[in-house]
């Protein structure tokens, strides 16, 4: 009997050597004459264990990690199939606390199925959501999404159902579904994992959206930094077309488009400009994309995770999803632990865990073993949280109340070697590099802010310059057209507020110059 061994083809797993491991397994099995079928999957999201391989046994899958090609021969000790005796055996993945504690809804299949097998997708509940949507009808489908309480997972947190209803209520010769897969926030990789690990989920979600609002064409705008995701998505679209799940019969088409390295294109109106073939400059709102979006037509533009969560909401009912979470943050959020953290990975859980639980319990503290000093939540435009705020629950409103945001769910941990003045400077510099140039506060304010922060770091009239930065941040916050300029004050001001000692410290390097 052929034994299946699962090896992730996720880009992060490949980046730490999954391909040579897969090749070594094939070689070793052939050498020993064992019947082994290597299946490439997505990642389970336990990245500190990657490359983590899984061997199918009668008692379920058994995991081994982090593997290298050198560990493979030891796996087949005595010419047998891998056993739990191997030093890298981690047991059943489902029993690893990091995975066991999760509530996997959006990521239920990721890391388990062959991403490019429609049979696998169906066998694991795929297309149940679309079937139910069809049986409910378009209007009831929108209603179901509204009732689930699903909010935009890109960060803005706008109710997805209301966005859909707005588009459904328009009349137009054409409407579009646009998936924002321009996942540019540092510390985030949830979109990438779905595209590489469960691409049909996104295709199903977009198809449901198209059915619900009366759109026949969808675009997935993927950042160019994700070549693996682009390849898998393009292939998945071809496979879905071949089975009539996309195309004329399905009354819905999907086209994959590739960005070109502009962070600002993650902003929805900038993304639409880019799709139209223009500079990715932000549009003033109104009109909303729901009324006048892509090519001037009503457009649903959603974050990838929002769309990828819709199939489960439809399949199992809105209530099932809405029962999870806290306050107005319903359902689950894929929290992405990153940076200097011991157990980095994707943790899908109902809203409501505190930041401290996420960083200390789930993440296991820092990778360096030094104390965690600052945590940036929500990407480069998110605030830095000190340990004193570790009691903040992971929830849209709770983070807003503490001058932060959860954004797309990225949590980047820094240990006590971090220099917060440098981090604040980086936030401004990043804004300057990525500004689309349309509005003055962002285009010029970011440059002047970087220069002023340089003065502070050099110890030049720190107090007066900090007052200037504070004033500038007010202008950025209230005068910018979009979140790039508007939210850059979050990391800057949170660093100044919570870590003031880093901004007034005598600088040895500066003094020496």
């Amino acid at each position: 009997m052929t034994t299946r061994i699962f090896v992730p083809r996720d880009a992060a797993a490949r980046a730490v050597g999954a391909d040579p491991v897969a090749a070594a397994i094939v070689d070793e099995a052939r050498r020993l004459g064992l019947a082994v079928d290597v299946v490439r999957t997505g990642s389970r999201g336990l990245f500190w264990l990657e490359p983590m391989i899984e061997v199918e046994t009668p008692g379920g899958r058994i995991g081994f990690g982090p593997m290298t090609a050198k560990d493979v021969p030891g796996l087949f000790a005595n010419g047998q199939l891998p056993s739990a005796a191997h030093p890298l055996c981690v047991g059943r993945p489902e029993d690893i606390p990091f995975l066991k504690r999760q509530t996997r809804i959006t990521f239920a299949r990721c890391g388990i199925v062959d991403p490019l097998s429609l049979a696998d997708y169906r066998a694991h509940g795929g297309y149940r959501g679309l079937e139910r949507a069809k049986s409910l009808g378009a209007a009831a489908t929108v209603e179901e999404v509204t009732k689930s309480g699903l909010r935009g997972r890109g960060g803005a947190g706008f109710p997805t159902g209301i966005k859909w209803k707005t588009v459904a209520d328009t009349t137009a010769d054409r409407k579009y579904i646009v998936c924002n897969a321009d996942e540019g926030d540092s510390g985030t990789y949830a979109d990438r994992m779905i595209m590489e690990g469960d691409p049909f989920l996104l295709i199903e979600g977009m198809t449901i959206a198209g059915f619900a609002v009366g759109a026949t064409k969808g675009y997935v705008y993927i950042r160019s930094e994700y070549p693996d995701a682009i390849r898998v998505m393009e292939r998945a679209v071809v496979l879905a077309e071949a089975e009539g799940l996309l195309g004329a019969e399905a009354k819905f088409d999907i086209e994959i488009r590739v960005g070109a390295g502009a962070y600002v294109c993650g902003e929805e109106t900038s993304l639409l400009e880019s799709l139209e073939g223009k500079r990715g400059q932000v549009r003033a709102k109104p009109p909303l994309p729901a009324h006048k979006g892509l090519f001037g037509r009503p457009t649903v533009i959603n974050n990838l995770i929002s769309l990828a969560t819709v199939p489960a909401i439809l399949a199992d009912g809105a209530k099932h999803y809405a029962d999870l979470g806290m306050g107005r943050s319903r359902g689950t959020m894929p929290i992405q632990l990153a940076g200097n953290v011991k157990h980095g990975g994707l943790f899908e859980a109902a809203f409501g865990l505190t930041l401290g639980e996420i960083v200390d319990d789930i993440g296991g503290g820092t990778a360096s073993g030094r104390p965690a000093r600052a945590v940036q939540v929500g990407g480069p435009l998110g605030a830095y949280f000190p340990r004193a705020l570790f009691d903040t629950p992971f929830d849209y409103e709770a983070f807003t109340a503490r001058d932060g945001l959860i954004g797309h769910g990225g949590v980047v941990v820094f240990d006590d070697s971090v220099d917060m003045a440098k981090q604040a400077r980086f936030a401004l510099e990043f804004c300057a590099i990525e500004s689309c140039g349309k509005c003055t506060p962002c285009r010029i304010g970011s440059v002047r802010g970087t220069e002023t922060m340089d003065k502070i770091i050099a110890g030049d009239r720190a107090e007066a310059n900090l007052a200037l930065i504070t004033d500038l941040c007010q202008t950025l916050k209230f005068g910018s057209l979009c979140a790039l300029g508007g939210f850059t004050p979050y990391p800057v001001m949170s660093a100044i507020k919570h870590f003031p000692e880093d901004f007034t410290r005598p600088r040895l390097a500066a003094a020496a110059e």
Binding site: A11, S186, Y226, A260, Q281, A338, G339, N340, G410, Q423
Partner: protein, 157 residues
């Protein structure tokens, strides 16, 4: 990475023609041109403008807006080092600085022999395995000074 082809107007026209009738085809065209010629050559700007019924200024505006599009081909290999926060938290900046200093380059520069271009990138989505980089489109992560030096040495050959 395949060597960039020399400018060939007929080939460029053919690349552009393949996108006839496609909505918003500017970025796909520019990506395809760059895949063949290693950059978007100034001569191509006029052809794209003609095909899309735009001014050359509009096309140039798009080419220059996006970090990905080049007006000159890069070196034979392109190493993109992540400079975003997750990699910063794992000392990525120091690692990057060492590489640049050893090669005598600044961000975006190419070694004098044309073998290697080193560019900054802001997030590759490999943030739980920081610091990370991409060599000719292939991801590498959990970089150490030694592993990065090995990558640079291989690419510089």
């Amino acid at each position: 990475m395949p060597k960039a082809a020399a400018w060939d107007e007929a080939e460029a026209r053919e690349i552009i023609r393949r996108h006839d009738g496609r909505e918003g085809s500017m970025l796909p065209i520019l990506h395809d041109l760059q895949a063949v010629f290693g950059c978007v050559p100034p001569a191509a700007v006029r052809l794209v403008a003609d095909a899309l019924n735009l001014t050359r200024a509009e096309v140039h505006g798009v080419v220059s807006f996006y970090h990905d599009f080049r007006e000159q081909p890069a070196g034979r290999h392109v190493l993109k080092l992540c400079r975003a926060e997750a990699c910063q938290s794992m000392d990525g900046e120091r690692l990057a600085r060492e590489v640049l200093d050893r090669l005598g380059l600044e961000w975006g520069d190419t070694t004098p022999d044309g073998h290697l271009t080193v560019e900054a990138t802001y997030c590759l989505g490999l943030c739980a395995c920081a610091p990370s980089a991409m060599l000719d489109g292939e991801p590498v992560a959990r970089l150490t000074p030694a592993s990065l030096q090995e990558i640079v040495r291989e690419a510089g050959r």
